[in-house]
Amino acid sequence: MTIIFSVVISFVIFGIASILWQLLCILTGVLESISVVLMAVFLLTGLIMSITNILSILKRRSYHNVLGISVLTLVTAVPVYWVFPQGSPGLYVNLVLSIVFAMISIKTIFKHLSLIQTVDIYTMISRFFRVLGLLIFVSIIFLPLYFMIFLSITPRAVFLQNPANLMPRFSLGKFFDGYVEVMTTFKFGRYILNSLLVSLSTVVLTMIPATLGAYAVTRLRFPGQKFLSRSILIIYMFPSIVLAIPLYSVFSSLGLRDSLLGLLIVYPAITIPVSLYMLRNYFQTLPREIEEAGIIDGCSRLSVIRYIVLPLSIPALLAVGLYIFMIAWNEFLFAFMFLDKQSIFTLSRGMVSLNSQEVPRQYLMAGAIIITLPVMLIFFSLERFFTGGLVAGGVKG
């Protein structure tokens, strides 16, 4: 029973590994299309080797990893070479990688097998699928990111030769061509300044009301406090497009529309609620006693805030500020609808103007990297704070 199960499992694993091998070869441009024969060869030799290894485990003999992998690779490489004599080195590199993956998986599964008598299917399979699942997840997330970088440095002609080949092929001199073009011809330097201006101003314009408001909601008692405290985020239930049309009309009549000032009026309105919410969560964790001591000593509320609360909240203020910056930087709808003059485009708006037939995709992707980079830097430095602070209020046991 156990033997049959082991054989089936190793068949499945080697099947997956062979597909992985082919996929790797295609992505690295080593193969143009799969060859069923190659896959069959891989599968067969792998199967034979793994069965012999399974039997040795079951007989409680030692299991040598490196030896097993080397022997398996050599044994598989020979028929592969026989079928495919003009195979490139990349083919064999990928072969090794796939065999390593297969062997590790089999070893993980059968580690259990050798220790327990009964076949606990879920334990074994869950371990294997956890590794596989992680791999899949990381790749579907990583693939677009890598693709963005890759396409921004690869000239169009080179890419079109084989769109599935994601190995970097570029001449060193032309590495930054896309970026230079985008910054000069397409004026992204200007757009970066505009985005910076708008985002930084939004941070300032948001932090002041939000800090005061958050303090009020946390510490002060007034009618409607509980209601406000709970319904701050209701604002985000409204679709932006529903706000955008009337604002477009009113701002057009007032002459505010095609200007950065218009954006600076709208953006704080979008960012204040969530900033209030996050700061409120943070203020709730500050002990009241320190502030009360200050009040007893005769300080006014504002002094308490300035000299006691704010210095204690610097990490939270920093995090919230960076988050506001990120929201303003990424914002698309209003930037797209309101701005017509090219000189005041923000990066979001500028990106859309790159989307035409005449503009090579390389430039568009270079622009994408430019707009993404600051956000990535901010968010990765903030990640820990978010899993703590942002989520804390909404998650109760």
């Binding site: 295609i26 299309s33 799969i34 606990d120 869950s126 992680l134 997840f137 990381v138 677009p144 693709f147 396409l151 890419f159 769109p163 599935a164 994601l166 002041i208 005061l212 408001g213 009020a216 002060l220 008692r221 007034f222 604002i235 239930m237 409204f238 679709p239 497009i241 529903v242 049309i245 009337p246 604002l247 477009y248 009309s249 009113v250 057009s252 009549s253 309105a269 204040i272 609620p273 209030l276 509320r301 990120m326 990424n330 698309f332 709808l333 609808m337 990066l347 979001s348 859309v352 995709r361 992707m365 994408a368 707009i371 993404t372 956000v375 990640e383 942002l390 909404g394 998650v395 046991g397």
Partner: protein, 402 residues
């Protein structure tokens, strides 16, 4: 007595501290929502938003002892009239009025002109003639330096009292209205479910110790954090029918006869959009689910292990009940935000090939076809539909709480 004054003081301070936030948010968020109702009953088009204004050009002709000041008045709008225009200008005292056209009056060194109801496309030149009585060396300079002050007033369709039911008539008669609403709901439900599922899997996967755990947790946030502009175009290129990597890979595996048009064919486009939504927003779900997972007391797991429960049993009977609340809340949030989503769909497909949802329709009507009133009507429909869902959700969550 002292207590109530402290309370009153607190209330006052709280009022002033909250005032800026409330002012900004209410005026930019709530006021436009109400304004939508107003606008949806008016026949406003895109062109109406810029009220017509006159252009006045002044030209001065010096002819020996005679000075002619000419004003060329033009209405730039071809069809809209200007309700009232006034021109005020000054002239040097050394000049004496000789001839002025009708409508002009010259009083106290000032030239004044009023005109009502200037029609669209209006173009006319008025000429005033003066005599130089006393010689003045810098006459020309002084004449050039006087710039006429122009005030104009036009009917602003936003503020006048013309109403119409046409917008709603057109909106409700659109054959596609039902289709659009169905697409919106489908997109919201399936997209949110997908994101939630992926987020749950991601949270479970990451909830173990392995090398590189921290890095993976940060990497997971990439789809959510990246600007939509960047991500949408990356996926458009990946899924391109002619030169897309995905199609290339699939055809290398000999799985396809011909490339799939992921974003431009009827059912496929919506399915692709749903997958995109799940991909982009799963980190949001993952964050909340993961935080909740970590908060589950390990005592529960230990006792389950002692009692010999298997992995599946543990998950079903312990983990799942603990996180069910979070799953529901996150689903509701994602549903509403996906329902309202405009950016993603607009950048991915522009609303083509069966991916037109209500928000996209609002944009198409208002700025695509230039029918602001129609766009507002659809906004109202969107808002009402959304309110129904909100009402259901909020009453559900209140039930859950009690």
């Amino acid at each position: 007595m002292g207590k109530s004054s402290i309370e009153a003081q607190e209330r006052r301070i709280a009022f002033w501290m909250l005032l800026p936030s409330l002012l900004i948010v209410l005026s930019i968020v709530l006021f436009p929502v109400l304004l939508n109702f107003w606008v949806s009953f008016k026949p406003i088009r895109l062109g109406d938003l810029r009220p017509p204004s006159p252009i006045v050009r002044e030209k001065i002709v010096l002819d020996d002892q005679i000075v002619r000041i000419q004003y060329q008045v033009r209405n730039t709008s071809p069809d809209k009239s200007i309700a009232l225009m006034t021109i005020v200008d000054i002239y040097p005292p050394s000049l004496q009025v000789q001839e002025i056209p009708t409508g002009f009056e010259v009083v106290d060194g000032q030239i004044r002109f009023n005109k009502k109801n200037i029609p669209g496309g209006f173009l006319e030149t008025y000429q005033l003639t003066f005599l130089v009585t006393t010689s003045q060396s810098n006459l020309e300079e002084e004449l050039e330096n006087s710039i006429p002050i122009i005030n104009s007033h036009a009917h602003n369709i936003l503020t006048d009292l013309r109403f119409t039911l046409d917008n709603y008539r057109i909106a409700l008669q659109t054959r596609e209205l039902f289709q659009i609403m169905l697409t919106t709901i489908l997109y919201a439900v399936l997209g949110s479910s997908g994101a939630l599922l992926l987020g749950l899997i991601a949270a479970i996967l990451v909830n173990q110790k392995f090398p590189g755990n921290g890095a993976v947790r940060s990497l997971f946030l990439f789809p959510y954090v990246t600007p939509i502009v960047a991500v949408a175009f990356v996926w458009r290129f990946l899924l391109d029918a002619q030169s897309g990597t995905v199609n290339e890979i699939l055809s290398s595996f000999n799985l396809l006869g011909e490339p799939i048009s992921f974003l431009s064919i009827r059912p496929t486009a919506l399915i692709t959009a749903i997958f995109f939504n799940a991909w982009r927003y799963f980190p949001f779900c993952y964050l909340f689910v993961f935080a909740r997972l970590k908060a589950i007391p390990s005592v529960l797991y230990e006792s389950a292990q002692i009692e010999g429960a298997g992995k599946m049993q543990t998950f079903w009977h312990i983990t799942l009940p603990q996180i069910s609340e979070v799953l529901l809340s996150v689903f509701m949030l994602r549903f509403i935000w996906t329902f309202n989503n405009f950016d993603d769909l607009f950048l991915l497909t522009g609303g083509a090939a069966g991916t037109k949802t209500l928000p996209v329709q609002v944009y198409d009507y208002a700025l695509g076809s230039g029918n602001i009133g129609g766009g507002a009507a659809f906004s109202v429909i969107l808002f009402l539909l959304l309110s129904c869902f909100l009402f259901v959700f909020l009453s559900r969550s209140r039930e859950v709480e009690s």
